[in-house]
Symmetry: C2
Subunit: 429 residues, 2 copies
């Protein structure tokens, strides 16, 4: 076990600092250009879905199983086989699913936007209310927070623990404050911490007694089948079922997409929710669009076939992602364990590794990495308004670079963590 | 020339009525099942674009001209070559174009929705205003009216003449009433009348002096290259240019899509507007989505190549549509000319023939057609709130049935027009 930086005296730290600075100069001289900023699939992953592009061609029957021509108008809620496929992936019934276009973020945006202009199943439109609040488990997904910020919705930080959000706090807010209208959740392989919600947390969500009739859980099931390991796989309770059992059938919107299964930007996305919610959403959808891209829905349905097809495909993704995650985790473990200058969780799926630096060090680490040619997600991005109160959390996205590049980037990262931490400790002496 | 029904006495009308009723029974007995309700391309038209599905396959280079991978995140405003293609079609510059997903209706919805929640380039959000009004040239496109109705925007009917909307009335409203925030226009091959706006009308639009700074022209250029004839083609002035010249550069949003060029539901759509407007829209788009389907954008760009490619493709559509339009027009001309019971315009493009029956007859005609197995767009649909004050306008969509079926349907239609008109005239005696 290495000696903790926190137990070192000034001279020890100064000695280490000098050595780290030397090493930093060496790394800088390498002229690296690596990007760990966004959860982008790498080239190898994209190649996995290329055969999908041959599935639909000019000699194909373009009709759905029910005989509807996917090339023409119709099937506003998605073609039957694609609704069934997405339902299987989301572990819900086909009738609860509307298949949209290529972006689940767009569905979330639309869902908030509709609530702002038209309320929720007959409630007062949020734009007519003085105050609307959302709970935001942190660290969380920056793009969720951007949506609520865009609509002027006040965001309240909720600590995200290793088993899910702090449910005492969630219950306190939701059950007592009628201006709390929603909560952003990534329940499985959370963005960015990688944790999955425990059964107890899911049950407590389902058992909420919201003060607001139009309170909704925004359940972004982005990584529902996005495992990294074949053996160690998280499983979460089905929130739609649990809400139904708890007498809150309409309280949740679940979102998912194939953006990180087929192609980011050219996948299909879906919402799953109660039949009553589906009915209300369809009233908007009828006005909003003539329908989504059904040929692409057919392409996905025929390529993947069923849930087993999806899972087999995701196993290939896992084989590509695992070494990249492991390269980072190995470096963190070997270089930082025992130093007491950072914490991280080993995720079993998803797209991120979340690192909590010593308080007040995140921005400095990200800046130091950048000067060494390693781009990370901006510090603070994982918090509402881009403000991490502790300046501690850093999101690492290991998917895009190669495993070798990831190893090189991780070396720079731990070096910067050490350097920033030493500087911080010295500044406090 | 046939004798006008209006100049007939009661006995003449009764004799005609009896003969028409006889014929109506015969038609009913045929058990027709024909649909002229919506502007859906027919099977032959869809077949034209099938080779497009081979253009992108697993052995393709998936990069844009600029080297961006269309399979991954990026190019939020659309890939360069597709923006260029859509710009050429819309007769604007590439920088003024954002390529969206598959539905221009969705862009229009988003544009109104954004104005409701966030205003226009910094103006007060429409949801904070007591009253928002849109001008609606009538008859017009039902789905435009549905969007404004959905947002509780008051709609004001403006007569659509053979050269465009009644501009005296448009100027009167726009230049004096600050609650008038928009006008819906289909400037070329108008839905449903088929007329195109004259140069003078376009110039008067551009020269408007709106009382509201956030007034915008919603210029749905849905049929910009959708000619029916090779020789007789309408041409309209470029509204973006004209607005710029008139000192109103930000006053117009132009919309277009390839829904009726490639595939309805699987095409690409675009907005064209001033750079200032583009900038404001991009602030929303960044929050709303991770981007649109760039593989489909690449598919369209490579298949059509350039504007000449688009035009050559549309000439094939014209060859298919022309006989269908002509079958209806021939029937109308042969059977109704001189009777003074209806008026219509011979469109040179677009998807519709608009028929104005005697006042108070449209609903009766549509109902009679339905009982004979011929489904038309619901009477009134071409007006805001579905209310045609004169109960006169009927939209005929000749694209979906075969030319033979169209001829059969047109026969039923003129029969029902005659019968309803005779009944109306008799009821007034």
């Amino acid at each position: 076990m290495k000696k903790s930086y926190r137990q070192m005296d000034k001279n020890e730290l100064l000695t280490i600092k000098a050595a780290l600075e030397e090493k930093y100069k060496e790394e800088q001289a390498k002229g690296l250009q690596l990007n760990m900023a966004r959860g982008k699939p790498g080239a190898e992953q994209l190649a996995l879905a290329m055969p999908m592009l041959d599935v639909i061609n000019s000699s194909c029957d373009m009709n759905t199983v029910l005989g509807n021509d996917t090339r023409n108008y119709g099937d506003l809620d998605g073609i039957g086989e694609c609704r069934r496929l997405m339902a299987a992936m989301m572990e819900v019934e086909k009738d609860n699913v509307i298949v949209y276009g290529n972006s689940s973020l767009n569905i979330m945006y639309d869902t908030v936007s509709r609530s702002v202009t038209h309320g929720v199943n007959g409630s007062t439109p949020w734009c007519k209310l003085d105050k609307v609040k959302f709970l935001c488990p942190v660290p969380g997904y920056d793009r969720h927070f951007k949506i609520t910020e865009f609509f002027g919705i006040e965001m309240i930080n909720i600590p995200l623990n290793s088993d899910g959000p702090d449910m005492d706090m969630v219950e306190q807010y939701v059950n007592n404050d009628a201006s709390v209208k929603g909560i952003w959740c990534v329940p499985k392989y959370s963005n960015p911490t990688g944790i999955s919600y425990s059964d107890e947390v899911v049950k407590r969500f389902a058992a909420l007694k919201p003060a607001a009739e139009d309170f909704r859980i925004f359940w972004d099931n982005a990584y529902c089948i996005h495992h990294i390991y074949k053996d160690k796989q998280d499983k979460i309770l089905n929130i739609l079922d649990e809400c139904e059992k708890a007498g809150n059938p309409d309280m949740v919107y679940m979102f998912a997409s194939t953006s990180k299964i087929s192609f980011p930007g050219s996948g299909v996305s879906a919402i799953a929710t109660s039949l009553k919610n589906v009915e209300f959403i369809m009233k908007q959808l009828t006005v909003q669009t003539i329908g989504h891209d059904k040929i692409n829905q057919l392409r996905h349905s025929r390529f993947f076939g069923d849930l087993d097809g999806l899972k087999a495909h995701m196993a290939k993704h896992a084989d590509i992602l695992r070494p990249k995650f492991e390269a980072v985790l190995k470096e963190l473990d070997e270089e930082l364990t025992g130093l007491e200058i950072g914490e991280w969780i080993e995720p079993r799926g998803g797209y991120f590794i979340s690192f909590n630096a010593m308080e007040g060090c995140a921005k400095a680490i990200v800046a130091k990495c950048k000067e060494c040619g390693v781009v990370l997600t901006g510090a603070g991005a994982t918090f509402p308004y881009g403000k991490d109160p502790k300046d501690s959390n850093i999101r690492i996205a290991p998917s895009f670079p190669s495993a070798e590049d990831m190893a090189a980037a991780a070396k720079v990262f731990v070096l910067c963590v050490k350097l920033a931490s030493v500087e911080k400790l010295l500044s406090e002496m």
